[in-house]
Symmetry: C2
Subunit: 303 residues, 2 copies
DNA sequence: AAAATAGTGTCTGTCAGACAGTATATC
DNA sequence: GATATACTGTCTGACAGACACTATTTT
């Protein structure tokens, strides 16, 4: 930007430029905030605490979609970068200041918000569920963690010549242990391979308890998270506290990837990403696990 | 969306809702359109056509940044999904209808556009350079392909305890063979690892010939493209015509990844992604290469 | 001692990197 | 036959999957 100097002519142009000539949308930032948190009680004093992947939802106090569950979010304010809006919203909801925060998608389909033309830039965010206390408690502002369950099944696969269409139906279920409330959505993904190019489209088939198109947004962002973590396990460290056991790290990866890992192989693979501390967990009814922290050097290289 | 029914009360609320109460931004969609195209003449009748990774730029006919080079883009219109805006813009520039098109970033920093509060949702797009004829030619609308060159060097690395900062300086050079015009930008990337979370920030150090913050946007999107292709070579097929030689595919990957591949290993790795056709190239001054097409089946699975 | 998790050793097959070598068109 | 690219065979080492085995704590 530095070498650019405006001419008088350009300054005159800008002085008469009326940005309000064109119709403008509202730009909202929605945050899909994931954490791995306790889910249910221990069966038995020896067993480990069961955990689940959870997403933070807000119960809407006003219209539209009053009393339904929606993603935390808010509108972009003048003078504020979109990233800043996301950080501000995140802080307001959770009082967490630093967290993984990454643009995951943009949703602007006509009719997605009955209030009018509102485009959502959606951010994926990850926090350590332990030291994150969502605000709320008042009637007007209830925030709650919901366990996330996703199942997929192939509905249709058509191949003609070099073109193909693949339809997958996803069932997204949220679950709040405390109250048993279970909002859900069924969403179809249409993947078309035409003229040597791929095109993806989502469509909500049915949904209950979820506001707006937020079922679609959560699905998209969860798949985005999975792809990110598959490509780079280091992303998952943002879901953990500063020190953690290797079993905890493994469990976190398993919850995100929705897949089991073999402990021996897993340990070999993360070996360079972690550093052993001199502490262990205690009172666990079985052999205590060593605590590890992340190896910053392995996080600084590449990518 | 389907199971939601509005109450009378909600309808009343919406009737009095005034979306214009809040200040709104303009939402622009910018497209970073890459192609792999001829770059320079063949040295020698036997040699292969040299190619380069190119990005499409538009010369600004009006203020601001008159006569400088900018990314193709335009404003989101009411009733139009953001993806649709991107597709429309792409079609207007190139008359290409199907192409790889993916949200790569959002840029809304204060002051990025002197006309006012304009947020850019940036899309990465890939086309086959051969059958893509950019519109233009009139004085008011010149579109041109620029070769892209990117160099990086580490400027600073501070580690204190478990926190770290990594500063990388990127030099982005565009080059138009026809005219010798060479817009460029130097951009610093600040990567901070604090409190166990990573934060990335870009800053334009200097730039010439490029409008707005488009140097930053191109850099971000090029890095995004590289990461995408590293994670999945199938993405690079969108830069190729329907049939291609394996050497051409290899060359395309090399240009995007900025790295050399060994032919034997490369061929083994792409073996399942392609299907041999019964045609070959001709008149090449050396052993002719077989033409391949992509194996749709390998593109339908997973991910 | 039993239960439950923590952690190691090692076999196997796959795959990527390296490189030497063969094949075939045009001039 | 020279040139330039096309394409193959094979050695090596790294690493992922599988699984058996050992270790250590609490009750």
């Amino acid at each position: 930007m530095s070498t650019y100097v405006m001419s008088a002519e350009e300054q005159a142009y800008l002085a008469q430029y009326d940005i309000a000539r064109f119709e403008r949308p509202s730009l909202a930032v929605d945050i899909v905030l994931f954490a791995v948190r306790e889910a249910g009680k221990k069966d038995n004093y020896r067993k480990l605490q069961p955990r689940a992947l959870k997403v933070l939802m807000i119960r809407r106090a006003g219209y539209p979609y009053k009393n339904l569950w929606a993603l935390p979010g808010g509108f972009c304010r003048p003078g504020e970068d979109v990233q800043e809006t996301a950080m501000r919203e995140l802080y307001e909801e959770t009082h967490v200041n630093a967290a993984y925060l990454q643009l995951a998608g943009t949703f602007g389909e006509e009719g997605r918000d009955p209030r009018g033309w509102i485009i959502s830039n959606t951010f994926l965010s990850l926090v350590n569920g332990e030291d994150c206390k969502p605000r709320g408690g008042s009637d007007a502002w209830v925030a709650a963690w919901f366990s996330v369950e996703l199942t997929a099944k192939e509905v249709n696969r058509v191949m003609h010549g070099d073109d193909a269409e693949l339809v997958t139906e996803y069932e997204l279920k949220l679950y709040r242990e405390k109250t048993g409330i279970c909002p859900w959505a069924v969403i179809r993904e249409y993947k078309q391979f035409t003229g040597y190019h791929e095109k993806v489209r989502y469509e909500i088939v049915d949904s209950e308890g979820l506001a707006f198109d937020h079922g679609k947004i959560i699905l998209h962002t969860l798949l985005f998270l999975r792809k990110n973590v598959e490509n780079d396990w280091r992303v998952a460290f943002d879901l953990l506290p500063e020190t953690f056991t290797l079993t905890r790290l493994q469990n976190t990866l398993e919850l995100v990837l929705d897949d089991k890992l073999l402990a021996a192989n897993f340990r070999r693979k993360v070996n360079d990403l972690v550093i052993e501390t001199d502490r262990s967990i205690e009172g666990s009814g079985h052999r205590p696990a060593k605590l590890f922290k992340r190896n910053v050097e392995a996080f600084c290289v590449k990518n």
